[in-house]
Point group: C2
């Protein structure tokens, strides 16, 4: 793809870079100017290229599966997972920039594929502040759209020049499917079990973050010890990300999150903070069971959950995972990419959407 024309006119800075710049500018770290230049020049180009690929993928005049995919892909996401791929690869020396670009795209498409299937599972009408694909095109098209994106992701890894990463991506997707099934089962049994919640978090979110960093590190040619450390950091970031997600469901601003408040309660999801609140306040569970499906009744129970201290405790858990991720990243050799990477756990726990 010819990028030169696009580089002449400065590309719009992807939102995640603005956030990263914010974290880096406020942190009193040395070398701020060169770091920002690195972010704007190199990463800016890669993320812009990613957005071009994403917008080209789900074409509006394609098959129903592609149009269902396009409905999701055209809503701007945070692109945190591909950013992790790019940054991890830059800690080393990737043999193929084009290959890394494919890995990053594969990561975002895998994420998007699971969102399309999740929306069918949850019967969700809103996604990223816009009507969900299944709300516009129906459940059937959304299932096929997810299949379409999953296949595209696998093919990209296969063609990236780093096809040795395919088995680990299959593992990650397997873990995601297993976690979704577990969560669905928890919704049915209403079992209060924090260990189960951890299993769901590990599969649903941590697995793909782990793969993102592992894939980037592998493409960057990092030695196995460092690649493992960086993958562990990915798992920690993913856990923190999901815990914050669960917190935002209970305390976020719907205008910022793009999702209805207390959606998890309405759907009967046993998220980590909800399970913790039920353990601390044993009579809460039957109140939640009764309120399920009723948005107002669920919203009315949020203060009670907050009073149990479960939301705060979950935020603390998220910070703990983020700081473990930071520690794992300390093992990396100093470079601009490392400095950007270590700002991501902070970005994750401070995010409001």
């Amino acid at each position: 793809m010819n990028l030169s024309a696009r580089v002449l006119t400065p590309p719009p800075r992807p939102g995640v870079l603005q956030l990263l710049e914010g974290v880096l500018t406020h942190a009193s770290m040395s070398g701020g100017a060169s770091r920002l230049a690195f972010l704007r020049a190199d990463l800016g180009r890669e993320l812009t290229e990613l957005d071009v690929s994403l917008s080209e993928l789900g074409v509006k005049n394609g098959s129903l599966a592609e149009r269902a995919a396009a409905q999701l892909l055209r809503s701007p996401g945070k692109r945190l997972r591909p950013l992790c791929v790019f940054l991890a690869s830059r800690v080393g020396e990737p043999s193929s920039r084009a290959g890394v670009q494919k890995l990053a795209l594969a990561c975002e498409l895998t994420h998007a594929a699971t969102l399309l299937h999740d929306d069918v599972i949850d019967q969700a009408d809103l996604r990223r502040g816009a009507p969900s694909s299944r709300a516009v095109f129906g459940n059937a098209a959304s299932v096929l759209g997810g299949d379409f994106l999953l296949l595209r992701a696998l093919r990209l890894v296969q063609e990236s020049g780093y096809s040795e990463l395919l088995p680990s991506l299959l593992d990650a997707i397997d873990a995601m499917v297993y976690a979704e099934a577990l969560q669905l089962e928890q919704q049915r049994t209403r079992e209060v079990d924090l260990a189960r919640c951890e299993e769901v978090i590990a599969g649903k979110t941590a697995a793909l973050f782990r793969w993102a960093l592992h894939a980037g590190a592998t493409a960057g040619g990092l030695e196995p010890g460092l690649a493992t450390a960086i993958a562990e950091a990915g798992a920690g970031m993913g856990r923190a990300f999901q815990l914050v997600d669960d917190v935002l469901d209970l305390s976020g601003n719907p205008e910022q999150t793009g999702k209805a408040l207390a959606g998890d309660l309405i759907e009967g999801k046993m998220s980590y903070p909800v399970a913790l609140a039920c353990i601390r306040d044993p009579e809460l569970k039957s109140a939640l069971d009764t309120a399920r499906g009723d948005a107002n009744a669920c919203a009315a129970l949020v203060p009670r959950i907050a009073e149990s201290g479960a939301i705060e405790a979950t935020q603390t858990e998220a910070r703990r995972s983020a700081s473990e991720a930071l520690q794992a990243l300390e093992a990396l050799p100093g470079c601009a990419a490392k400095r950007a990477l270590i700002s991501i756990p902070t970005l994750i726990v401070e995010r409001v959407k």
Copy 2:
């Protein structure tokens, strides 16, 4: 896996072998006895092993995704696709029997994965004469069950020792997703277009049959020219298979097919014979549009479709594809596997379920 114990007691003969034996016994071909011995000894073992793997896969006490998969896998299917993998590999000399077994299993699992997603798309309550997975476990579990099986299939190919076949399997699944999306769109637009019907048939069914024979031939080490010929035969068999499926929907015995009569009409599917009937009897379409969703009204229109000659013409088209497949198979060197293979197109067009 230790097979010796199982081989001591003769395994139950898989149904498809009984059918194959029937075709081979009735055909006045030479060497009948040795052919039957080959079928019973070698293929019988491979198909039994396949059934063992299938029954082990979707375990009843596994995750909800696995249980949803088990609900489908425990209903005996025809296993025609894995049979094609086995036979095509036996035309040559496969370097790894265990690898071929994995390819055959991958083929059946891919097929099963699409059935699980199709049942959600079609809101089907019956599959293989038993309650569909989505009817038992719900749409969400069926979506995840399909994802689970798809991943397992891809991983099997990756681990088979023939991982060079992964891109072509991804192509085949892509074609299947595209065809499902096209069919869904046709159901919405009610467009009468035989070329579209051919596209649906090519993606929905022919692509995986083609892959089955291509994969077997590749594993068997057949030279590229022969592997292409055998893949073409697969596409012909697949087209014939789908056309017969469409015919059985309109003229089959529900007790044999395990599906309701005229299910395609009820769902508003523009199958090949239905589109052909609408072309020959232009007023039929509005009658079908009105009857859609009403089982009795749809059944009442079947004789009118038959009167147009569309069912017979579709059967003729199926025979044409089957005979093209036979011609393509003629290029293969003479052997027991070839003789069994050339009976499959006949088996496909004569099947009643």
